[in-house]
Symmetry: C2
Subunit: 142 residues, 2 copies
Amino acid sequence: MDKGELFQQFVRFTTSVHQVTNDMTKEIRIENITTVQYKILEFITVSQPVTLSEVSECLHLSLPNSSRELKKLIQNQLCEKIIVPNDRRKFDIRLTEKGTALMNKVFQQLELKFQERIDNLKEPELKEIQEAIKILQTKLFT
Amino acid sequence: MDKGELFQQFVRFTTSVHQVTNDMTKEIRIENITTVQYKILEFITVSQPVTLSEVSECLHLSLPNSSRELKKLIQNQLCEKIIVPNDRRKFDIRLTEKGTALMNKVFQQLELKFQERIDNLKEPELKEIQEAIKILQTKLFT
DNA sequence: CTCTTTAGTTATCATTTGATAACTAAAGGG
DNA sequence: CCCTTTAGTTATCAAATGATAACTAAAGAG
């Protein structure tokens, strides 16, 4: 296989993914939440419980800046620190009930847009898509 | 098919794609180029020629802000305006030679990282990946 | 017990990004 | 020919983000 060509396809593909997800999330504006704060919330949602260092590393934010943004999220009562017994320097971060409710609402909106997007597809195509996602998820985006 | 489950997979998948591409592009820092400016360059690269309105719309930037950032890119001689004959309000934007050279270098770096990533995969898996990309590209991320 | 490393905090400053108002100039419709 | 719309510009201000220094406090190594 021509690996150069595969790379070209990869670039076009990831660009499309970015554009589509951007369009889907674009209108989702939450009060008092900035873009970075939303990304942190999203990360917590899919990975909780997480430590601050993990937030920092995965989102490419410095620890001081992560700390600052987390503080604001906690002030908004969207997430909370949970003390972990073995190491008193660290703490786990989790969504609060309010945060969970908020993110559920966001994901419901997203799901609606997703359903629209696949509305015209029939069962066999959906199967194909599911398979394709599984392959890429395990072999390329790990 | 359970469309709710498919949505869950979709979310996990797009999250992975974002993380991987983020990691791949993270270290790429170009002198005098901010994140937004890089995104504009990237967009021009894959879609040129483009108009300023297209930049604005696709990257979700206001026209004034797009104009400002484009100006800086032009000052850095990375792209240029090209007058289009039929409509003197518009212009096309293209990479200059310098801009093209720069983006080629960037894409070469990216390709290296991509090759590393698929290095352990054999021919049949590469075929699978290529097929999977094609399916998602045409049916889901259009 | 000391020294080093890890995890996070607080404060501060510069830069980037976002938003808006007021503008020019060409295109297009009637 | 006038009026409206489209495409882009310039200026300005506020907010978000990035970077860094100086700090605390616990963990771990020897």
